[in-house]
């Protein structure tokens, strides 16, 4: 796996548990115990109500493509073999949006509001990226 040529995310203090969960092929997000809102990216207080009381909670991994773009050039060498590739804003059923890739279909088949579900890509021995495919 050491020949992986794309950027590998560097977990922060806030996101460590998120990346540990994806490593185990689960998606967990922080859910506010005060108001019930899920949040992403991870953070110490709830952006809805500023409560610091939260619980890492499994989510469905289902959502929709809110928007997307298609890269036809590799601005980083690791992506050269995947062109063209899709970067999308995924809106999870639980509310939060996150950036990811849409895989499992041709770029020209991707549409806004298309239903998708999570798939896991073990990019190194330590890190797994959640990606999404048509559901």
């Amino acid at each position: 796996m050491s020949d992986y040529a794309k950027p590998v995310p560097t977990p922060s203090e806030d996101s460590r548990i998120y990346w540990e969960a994806t490593k185990n092929h689960r998606m967990m997000l922080q859910r506010c115990r005060a108001c019930g809102a899920f949040r992403f990216p991870p953070g110490e207080v709830c952006p809805e109500c500023t409560s610091e009381d939260y619980e890492w909670t499994p989510v469905s991994g289902k959502g929709r493509v809110f928007s997307f773009v298609i890269y036809h050039r590799a601005y980083q060498r690791g992506f050269a073999d995947e062109l063209p590739y899709v970067v999308a804003v995924i809106e999870l059923e639980e509310g939060p949006r996150m950036l990811s890739n849409v895989t499992g279909c041709k770029p020209e088949e991707v549409r806004c509001d298309m239903p998708v579900e999570v798939v896991y890509d073990d990019i190194t021995d330590e890190v797994t990226l959640p990606k999404f495919r048509p559901a």
């Binding site: 928007s67 063209p84 804003v89 950036l99 990226l129």
Partner: protein
């Protein structure tokens, strides 16, 4: 908020050589822009007692107002380096007015310039970080392009609409001797330009340029006796969609909506009262969305609005009459202010908007979350 309508004025504007200027450093560009603005205003450096700069330069965030002041040989009563990306341009004028209002200073130099064309760029996507680069999202184009994709989905906006913006800016650049892009561009040329990141063609994206510009702000009272006919700041607005571009409706409804509403309210004007618009065109889409959010047309109708020559010289709303950042030069919105002022002074020659009395200027930054607006009059 106390209305600052018409209390402050822009009394001098200037810029350095634009385009590719390998012989000058970043500060070299800035000091030549300052010299041009001082000459334009008929002021000496000792008449200036405040310097505001953009905090971005060569990727470093430092006390640039101090570094620049050192090179100009001036001490100042007030100085600050601001960071709101492309919204910094108009924000500098607003902070200048606020600082004079507060009594901190009397005459403010607002400066930005960088070497976007000839400096060495840092390698993209190599460092750490998370929630973006690992998925191959690189550069401002990718982030802003999400907005156009969603706008196309919700409102049926097309590449022909974006092409109309690119072509309008190019036609204007051809009437501006200092504009970098002088070659003809047809709608077909637009469609044939390569993808930077779909849905953005090359011609949806602004230039990379060397250049600097400076704007001098003082009180309307002081402005009365100066060399140039004052250009008054009628309206100011600023909004930050700080929860992020991908949150809520922020990618299709920019901070421009609230920022524009504030500026129109202060000015006591409506969109129909505006004679020319100088809009932050980092990408065609941002120009279109800004015009919608300012109320020149309804949300979703920006595509048809920018088509048919409406935003060209001779149209209903001549927009980016210098060629904008798409076809003149990119100094993160500074030249939008310079062009607005020159239009209101009637100095624009072949590209002059006849009888222009009012102009709206926009700044947009932080990957489309920070927005600032000025409404100017002569």
């Amino acid at each position: 908020m106390a209305s600052l309508k018409d209390k402050y004025a822009i009394v001098g504007v200037g810029h350095s050589a634009l385009g590719k200027v390998p012989e000058l450093s970043d500060y070299g560009l800035q000091v030549t822009a300052v010299k041009a603005a001082l000459d334009d205003a008929g002021l000496k450096k000792t008449d200036v007692d405040a310097v505001i700069t953009h905090s971005h330069l060569l990727g470093a965030v430092r006390v640039h107002h101090q570094n620049l002041s050192e090179r100009l040989g001036i001490d100042t009563a007030f100085g600050v380096s601001l960071s709101a990306g492309g919204a910094t341009s108009c924000l500098m004028v607003q902070v200048a007015a606020a600082a004079i209002e507060a009594g901190f200073c009397k005459t403010v130099l607002c400066v930005h310039g960088d070497k976007g064309a000839t400096r060495k760029t840092v390698t993209r996507g190599e460092g750490g970080g998370e929630f973006g680069p690992e998925y191959g999202l690189f550069g401002a184009a990718g982030a802003h392009a999400f907005g156009l994709t969603r706008h196309m989905h919700e409102y049926g906006t097309t590449h022909d609409h974006m092409g109309a913006i690119a072509v309008a800016c190019r036609k204007h650049a051809q009437l501006n001797p200092v504009a970098a892009m002088q070659a003809d561009m047809t709608l077909e040329d637009y469609h044939n330009s390569r993808w930077i990141v779909w849905p953005f063609h090359l011609f949806d994206c602004c230039l990379r340029s060397d250049g600097a510009a400076a704007v001098i702000v003082t009180s309307a009272e002081r402005a009365k006796d100066m060399k140039q006919k004052p250009v008054y700041v009628m309206g100011m607005g600023q909004t930050n969609n700080s929860r992020g571009y991908i949150w809520g409706d922020h990618m299709t409804e920019l901070g421009a909506k609230e920022s524009g509403a504030q500026a129109f309210a202060m000015a006591g004007l409506k969109p129909k009262d505006i004679d020319t618009a100088q809009i932050y065109d980092c990408f065609t889409y941002i120009l279109m969305a800004t015009l919608e959010d300012y109320g020149f047309c309804k949300k979703g109708e920006g595509g048809p609005f920018v088509s048919g020559g409406r935003i060209e010289l001779g149209g209903e709303l001549p927009t980016n009459t210098s060629g904008g950042m798409l076809s003149e030069c990119y100094i993160e919105g500074m030249l939008q202010i310079v062009e607005g002022v020159r239009q209101l002074r009637g100095e624009c020659g072949a590209r002059q908007v006849k009888d222009a009395e009012t102009a709206i200027i926009s700044g947009n930054g932080g990957n489309a979350v920070c927005h600032s607006t000025l409404i100017l009059r002569n």
